[in-house]
């Protein structure tokens, strides 16, 4: 234990006697708030912590949502680390004008996103449409999204058509949760091919438009009529 005695007596930094991969392991298994604390203690730790801190982002409060989205827009490279993004913020009257645009701008900086979940009423109808129309995440494995119920001026397509287009753009999807207050009727001629789909939860009429080989083999799906 000579090393430890030296570390103690000579006030050696922990990184001089503990390998980085052990530090990284500690960081990876620490709660989110501790990861944030560790990322603020030194440059070495910040370098180790940031990719871990941003890998799985789960936001439950309006303030955190604002802080995260504006921080990511200021430092776009952070978005690159995000693999899982969950916005589970209850609707609140304190929502300010423009927060939907902020969320959408941050989402555009997450090209490697694998899991996306946005709870009801977080995005206004306009940005709900925009996400379905423009959202593109080449590695998306699961999504949990709300399809706006009302058609909106300025969008030539109905919300359900935008839902179809969103799914069609993401053939990597394995799990789809697509919610809507109204029945979504997919346009008749369209077939969506999701060869990896294992779980579908949502509107019953919609599943008819999906070609899902994996789903036909037997895994779960929950379809709600109407």
């Amino acid at each position: 234990m000579v090393l430890i005695q030296r570390a103690h007596q000579e006030s050696m930094e922990i990184s001089q006697w503990l390998p980085n991969e052990v530090l990284l392991h500690i960081i990876e298994h620490s709660p989110k708030a501790d990861q944030a604390t560790l990322s603020s203690i030194s440059k070495l730790f910040r370098g180790l912590c940031l990719p871990v801190l941003y890998r799985v982002v789960k936001i439950k409060g309006y303030h955190a949502m604002k802080s995260f989205c504006s921080g990511t827009i200021e430092n776009p490279s952070r978005g690159d680390s995000v693999r899982s993004f969950t916005l589970d913020v209850p609707y609140s009257s304190s929502h300010i004008e423009g927060h939907s645009a902020l969320i959408l701008a941050a989402l555009k900086l997450m090209p490697k996103l694998e899991h996306l979940s946005v709870s009801e009423s977080i995005l206004d109808t306009h940005h709900g449409h925009l996400l379905l129309e423009q959202g593109s995440f080449p590695q998306l494995i699961s999504c949990n999204l709300w399809v706006p119920s009302d058609a909106l001026d300025g969008f030539p397509a109905k919300p359900s058509d935008l839902g179809v287009a969103f799914l069609a753009r993401h053939s990597t999807l394995k799990r789809v949760h697509l919610h809507s207050e109204d029945e979504m009727v997919p346009p008749q001629p369209v077939r969506i091919s999701l060869p990896n789909l294992e779980l579908y939860e949502g509107n019953a009429a919609f599943i008819l438009a999906i070609d899902a080989i994996a789903l036909k083999r037997g895994p779960t799906f929950l379809a709600f009529p109407g």
């Binding site: 090393l3 620490s30 501790d34 203690i41």
Partner: protein, 179 residues
């Protein structure tokens, strides 16, 4: 029961389910099979092994049973935390004082021991024990994280950020601290 021999030649009779939390010892036992032969641990001293294998009896003890969970699994449960917003200012202040008093004792008396425990946990492959110990105070009831300055002090980490950088980081990290 398993017999362990430490670097200072002390022998320990320890329950199998406790020592098997160490991936290193678990693998050794699997390789050797049932045997009365003691397992040598040349990198672990008796004082450290006591800390790593005994259940918690006070703030300076390590709560092995409660906290080093499953080492084989890659997931370690996050400790439950009291929602920070629900705490009154008084409670928050009291908590901070408790941590500092305990810390002071811990740092001045036991930094060397703490380093040894971390290294032993690494050697024995009880990494989740590592995760718990260095961030949290020893109290059973309070799982609050240490403030950055205390972690720096505990592990001789030099703050190489400028005050401006630090303020920027604090602002940037707000989302992750908002519980």
């Amino acid at each position: 029961m398993v017999l362990l021999v430490t670097s200072d030649n002390e022998q320990f009779q320890t329950e199998k389910d406790i020592v098997e939390r160490s991936v290193l010892i678990k693998n050794m036992l699997e390789d050797v099979g049932e045997s009365d032969q003691p397992i040598p641990l040349p990198n672990v001293s008796s004082s450290v092994l006591k800390k790593v294998t005994q259940p918690s009896t006070g703030p300076t003890e390590i709560d092995v049973r409660g906290r080093y969970l499953s080492t084989a699994s890659t997931t370690v449960e996050s400790p439950s935390r009291p929602p920070i917003l629900e705490q009154s200012q008084d409670e928050t202040r009291k908590r901070t004082t408790d941590i500092s008093e305990w810390d002071q004792k811990f740092i001045t008396v036991d930094q060397e021991m703490l380093f040894e425990i971390i290294l032993a946990a690494n050697y024995l492959d009880i990494k989740s024990l590592l995760c718990r110990r260095w961030l949290q105070d020893g109290s059973q009831h309070d799982q609050g994280a240490r403030p950055p300055e205390e972690i720096r002090k505990l592990f001789n980490i030099v703050n190489d950020f400028t005050p401006e950088e630090e303020a920027q980081i604090k602002k940037e990290n707000e989302w992750a601290e908002d519980r």
